[in-house]
Subunit: 222 residues, 2 copies
DNA sequence: ATTACTAAAAGACGAGTAA
DNA sequence: TTTACTCGTCTTTTAGTAA
């Protein structure tokens, strides 16, 4: 991991064209452009060279600096981060399924404070102690598989009373303007056509759902 | 100017979705993800808040952090830098003109060590002490005007023997695979249909040029 | 568990200097 | 002019602690 200051210097060199060719600079001119002393600039350049992020050719009147493949990789990693921040793919997925009676498993887990607390932290709502289970349409099963590529929120497991409570993951979504989340325990193997959903209220009541009612779940992920 | 470490933290928050909504984090979890102690993480968050780059809501079990408009601006500035590095526009310009006899002015300047040294530093060749002057085709005069928008390399002036030697600027280019540079003294007002070019060799001889010969100058700028 | 303080330890900075 | 060292100073970090 490259420290922030070194990365800043590397970027400055890249902006001067260092990725394409060796550029001339002196510690003084370089330092001035970064608001640091020539000594610090020199030290930073030495540090970048030691990390093999740049190559240098020292001359009596300055130095020629070029960015190595490793250096460019590092910059690209950084660039990729900014792309993730500002150019989210904003893919929108919709799952369609029918309400089914759950196994009561979800309700049980939602009653455990450790889990509830974590959901509360990461989601925008205080989870209602119960879940809505859906059996997906065949077409939605495909969509469901895609969702695994997105980055889910991790829920930590824990140990209490000599029992292990496993980890889980959840993905924020919406059902008819109600903020919800799909929840998947990491261990138990769910049938792939079933999803379990938590929300801030009792969805069955709020949306007047019965077993067999059709529901659309919208995932607007970036 | 935001310091590098603060920017790194701001970016980390943005990656967690901080630009879109308030996200939950604790100094410990945040610190671990950045390889810094919880104390430092806390201090950084305080620092970011003081700079109005984030807003915070402290809770007993952590804090909710959101990125302000100013914070997002700062990140976008950084993003723009990386775009400049990796997505250069790579515009290609071509000037066409006829060889003319220069005023000898160029040759004189190229004989002055202070100027020669600077050209040598910034360009990929050791400048030949002479220049090639071209009178541009009418169509190329338009192109020439566009070139002013690109970023030229600045050549410093200096004072010697009670005389002031002015500043100049140059733009790397190519004539038939010969690396060259267009040179423009900052003071003297050139006619806009004339360009003066330096290279690593005597272009007239190398390309067998006479007065009136047509020459193409290629500028591949990013 | 938190946040955020204080104080000791570590590390970075820049002046001075040599080559 | 450079680069890059040493060294004193100052800043930053982290451990410890309180709330």
């Amino acid at each position: 991991m490259v420290v922030a200051e070194d990365l800043q210097c590397l970027k400055a060199i890249a902006l001067l064209g260092g990725c394409r060719r060796a550029i001339w600079l002196s510690s003084q001119t370089f330092g001035r452009s970064l608001n640091i002393s020539p000594q610090t600039a020199s030290r930073r350049l030495i540090s970048l060279e030691r990390q093999q992020l740049i190559t240098r050719a020292i001359r009596p009147d300055g130095q020629y600096v070029g960015i190595t493949a490793r250096g460019e990789e590092e910059l690209k990693r950084e660039y990729a981060d900014y792309i993730r921040i500002f150019s989210p793919k904003r893919e929108r997925y919709v799952l369609t399924g029918a309400v089914i009676s759950g196994l009561g498993e979800g309700r049980y887990y939602m009653s455990i404070p450790h889990y509830r607390q974590q959901f509360e932290k990461h989601l925008q709502f205080e989870p209602f102690p119960g879940t809505l289970n859906l059996r997906l349409n065949p077409a939605s099963i495909q969509v469901r598989r895609h969702l695994d590529r997105l980055d889910w929120i991790d829920i930590d497991g824990f140990v209490a009373d000599n029992r292990t409570f496993g980890t889980a993951r959840c993905l924020p979504c919406r059902i008819a303007e109600h903020p919800c989340a799909i929840v998947v325990p990491s261990r138990s193997h769910y049938p792939e056509d079933v999803v379990e959903i938590i929300a801030g209220c009792e969805l069955r009541g709020a949306l007047n759902l019965k077993d067999g009612s059709t529901v659309e779940v919208e995932i607007a992920h970036d």
